[in-house]
Symmetry: none
Subunit: 210 residues, 4 copies
DNA sequence: CATGAATGAGACTTCATTCAT
DNA sequence: TATGAATGAAGTCTCATTCAT
């Protein structure tokens, strides 16, 4: 995740400013805040610029276009997200524990940042197909992480050996994602993290060698 | 579902034509086709009207506005969808079989109608929050169906008695939904219905009394 | 006023129903009510038809188009208006009394019918120039009535002999019209008819031989 | 009037560009010309923009919406109008002369700008009630000017002491307004300013202490 | 690097009028 | 005569992006 160089845009006419500097981060954070507050369709570039404390035109020194803000936002946040999970997973060898860590980290990070949760679960999905494909590209890193756990579980004999990896991954991701989305739509009324344990148990049951 | 007499809509300033008749259905079907083909944001009312073989203005005799086409589309299709599943479920008493029927019907109906699958899995989710809330309202009927199966399974001693119904429902729906979405994004390259069995098995394992 | 045959439309392709019958009057009265209530720009043909208790299409059996309803309305009401004033004027020979009758009848008739007052003073003036020209055509009958009084007053030596008839007529009409418009815009809060006397006095002063 | 600092408009969601600068005036002037030429209902924003030599969207940097162009137009022109009259009135102490100045300025300014005359006498009155209320708000300044003259005339013993100020004001304004409207509807065929004297005389006669 | 005024394409919806019944 | 479902033209406004300063 840390060096899939989609960061530069080779072959395009214009060169963007180095994706560094405080302005870049300011704009990303402003975007999350504005989109969470106003919804995707009411988040004009000018509103994000204002929130970030820069001029409208400045946005275009750091991002190719509006869509690029969204993808970058997702890349940036998801990158850190995956990285943290990877770090935590590395320190644990038990398959069951690894799965619990994955679930817990996923729920925890989104519970910690309500704005980000709204953006990832609801607003970002309102984007067009093309953008969604690019987002899926970023998501792949996370899905690979899940695959790794599944494969390791099978290899270690913890999970059934005839598990279909794709379906299993879809079950794990689909379940967690639905749990989070419901929590967001219910306006974060209940504690999300305490759902880790039952979700973990059910998923394990679904996969465990009987 | 076949005679919910919404023929008049008292309380609104304008009265819509009867929500029946061939034009109504023509427009709904045209909308599914056009949206699946062009994407939500490139599906102008005029395009839908043309595809339906009616004048632009005629749309507004049957639907309050563009958004209303979407909600109606979902209500109409989802209504039939739920009805069919209910009918099939009624003829079967085994819990395991009921769950298989639910999964199979879900996957089958969407595999049968690629356009509808694209619309429900991708395009309809691009709508704004308000519209999504109305869609969720319709979805509730389906989720209740799932709940019924879960509760019955617990009652019959087939499922664990300490299952959290909400989380279980989110697992079932989240898994199936993710399976379908992935299939749509992979452009229907593989057979969806043959995934019924493994999905069924995994979900059963997750819930079954050990 | 009673036989200026603008009633038929010679040379046009379609023949309108005879401008008689209760439907014709129903539509005119419905138009006055609807326009007074909703304003000119929110008075759709369908709304007028509904208020009149006829189908939209029926309107077009009695009127050439929407504009024709308005002109007819004005012709109809103004015709009766002028006729009544003429009748009253005939029974009085004094110039001063004639002027008082004119003013009084004008104010009285509009005070009696608030809806009509709103339509003539405010709503009908929102129409386009072409329509306004046709309305002015109808108004000419009234203005001629005023001219008659002025000329008679000069002839009889009651008014100054060097009065400019056009300007004098504009003063009389402009004053009364402004008085009524103000009363309508103040939402008929005060009694209109009691203004007859002071208006009469001032107008007489303006014209009277010193 | 030349420095009413409406530069910001706090409280609105969007901030309009400064209501100054050449573009603002260009648009106002273009609007007068286009509306006088084509009539209110055929004066699309795009037509005004073209005449002003700016892009359609630029209009909305200076005006809230189309209606706002009209109100601003009236405010702007009427503001200067009143200001000029006030200046002229200040240099004259005789009541009779003051009244003559008012009438003369009124007729002169409209005779000088045929387009503006068409817009104020005909087109601006086609607007809806809400807009007309805003226009009346502006008009109040002018009516107060008239009131001042009336009150001063009474005080000085030039006018009758029992004059009803409201009716007198309505007579003065109604007369002048009708004179101008007639002139506009007759397509400026005759000289308007030469009517000052007879109008002045008649109005004086109506008010003067006998 | 930064600004922000200016651009202009693009679409939803209304409503007067028609015409087959 | 009467109906009312169907028509389709037409216009306001938004907002991502640019570029002169």
């Amino acid at each position: 995740m840390n060096d899939h160089s989609l960061l530069s845009n080779p072959g395009r006419g214009k060169t963007l400013a180095k994706r560094k500097g405080q302005k870049y981060d300011q704009i990303i954070d402003a975007a999350v805040k504005v989109i969470a507050q106003n919804g995707y369709h009411h988040s004009q570039v000018s509103k994000i610029a204002k929130e970030a404390g820069v001029a409208d035109g400045t946005i275009y020194l750091y991002f190719k276009n509006k869509e690029d803000i969204l993808v970058s936002l997702f890349e940036e946040k998801m990158g850190k997200f995956i990285q943290k999970i990877e770090e935590e997973l590395a320190g644990e060898s038990s398959i069951e524990a690894k799965l619990l860590i994955l679930i817990t980290m996923h729920l925890m990070q989104l519970q910690k940042d309500h704005s980000l949760a709204i953006v990832t679960q609801l607003e970002l999905r309102q984007s067009n197909i093309e953008l969604r494909n690019r987002i899926n590209e970023v998501l792949k890193g996370y899905l690979k992480l899940i695959d790794t756990i599944i494969l390791l579980g099978i290899e270690k004999g913890v999970f059934k050996e005839d598990l279909d990896v794709r379906i299993t991954r879809q079950m794990i991701f689909g379940t967690i994602d639905e749990v989070v989305t419901d929590w967001v739509m219910k306006e974060h009324k209940y504690d999300l993290v305490q759902l880790c344990e039952p979700v973990h148990t059910m998923l394990l049951n679904a996969m465990r060698r009987s």
